[in-house]
Symmetry: C2
Subunit: 207 residues, 2 copies
DNA sequence: GTTTTTCCGTACTTACCCGTATGGAAGTCG
DNA sequence: CGACTTCCATACGGGTAAGTACGGAAAAAC
């Protein structure tokens, strides 16, 4: 049934994935160092004995968690890509969706912060590369030459990352409530260049 | 004379500031958890005995380091502000300078990642707020109304933060070598709106 | 029903770090 | 020269987490 997640959910037995998810939760507000076997066991309502049956050691848990994270993160992008045909709308969708999931954002930032660890670095690099490639493709579909598409994608992605960070470290700096959407519109308007149209309020895309 | 920094610099005696600087170094590639008394002592070529003479405990060291960091970081902005009169040039200067100091950027990211700690949170918030205020002022000097100036400042600062992160986590994604300046120009052109001129290749906005 | 297999608890060892206690060397001042 | 301050080393106790060894209960397999 997979009732799933967080509190002592009195499951009959735990699976390796349960441990991996718990580890990812721990990363959100403890970074990589936050992933400790004994505290996780306490949070799951068991002891270390359970853990060392599912995993060889802490390193294996970390790798499994990262694997799980990376695959989930890439699937998400593909899922969104299929939805929207218009490249302009597609970019907008990505942006708004990216600003929606609070937890995923925090998790990404936590992992990125642990990038000094070579294990983490590989996965973070892979995910961010995947996202950038996807964005580049969107911009290319918009009619930009490959070179420019890459630049705009990098630009947009950087802004996205920065907004994420500001949201975490200084939420009061972002426009509150309803004004945030207005702010988002400014970002979108600015980050999606027009090839040579009229900028009244509508949008169209070149082939 | 302050020959200073890094390796076992055979100084006659250590000062509290030496410990604070070492702590900041440790934060760059270990986060807040990287600040441990005994490892720091080893790196400085002494023992804990030294540390606990200069500081009451680890917490005092962390606070002192953060204090040192925050003051240095705000001074930097003020120093740059005085240099350039033209608001447009001023923003450009800030951007280029901000992309110059590798270590400071990594340090900021490391501290921001530790923002869950209330001690760190206060300082990070203060520094980022200070920067945003400064940027807002620049945009206001550019002729934008306060409200729009804040939005653009937030936008620009987000992009800056994101670029910083990309630089750390996925350097290959950023345009290499000479092309990076070209990329920076795109950022600057886009992030500094023109009140009513002819944009060379892009966009305009309503008041 | 008994034997595995699954899953977890308990106990122990090792290792690292914080904090304290205490003493000692080198300079300073009378 | 002797007392006193400055700065650091050494030694110890306490805490927490990584692994390991082993044992046990409960379900699954036979």
């Amino acid at each position: 049934m997979e009732v799933a997640t967080s509190m002592a959910q009195q499951k009959p037995t735990l699976s390796a994935d349960d441990w991996a998810d718990a580890a990812l939760d721990a990363m959100v507000d403890g970074g990589l160092d936050g992933v400790a076997v004994e505290p996780l066991a306490r949070k799951l309502g068991v002891t270390k004995g359970s853990f060392y049956w599912h995993f060889a050691n802490r390193d294996a848990l970390i790798r499994a968690s990262l694997e799980r994270w990376a695959s989930r993160e890439t699937e998400q992008i593909i899922a969104r890509a299929k939805g929207v045909k218009q490249p302009r709308k597609r970019i907008q969708t990505v942006f708004k969706a990216a600003n929606g999931s609070e937890r995923e954002g925090h998790l990404y930032l936590a992992l990125a912060a642990a990038s000094r660890d070579p294990r983490v670095a590989d996965f973070v690099h892979k995910v961010s590369q995947r996202r950038l490639d996807f964005l580049s493709e969107c911009y290319r579909a918009l009619g930009l030459p490959t070179r420019d598409a890459r630049k705009w994608a990098t630009f947009a992605y950087s802004t996205f990352l920065g907004t994420l960070q500001l949201r975490r470290d200084n939420p009061s700096a972002l426009p509150p409530g309803a004004m945030f959407n207005e702010y988002l519109r400014l970002l979108i308007e600015t980050l999606i260049p027009r090839s040579g149209e009229q900028p009244p309020a509508a949008n169209e895309q070149a082939a």
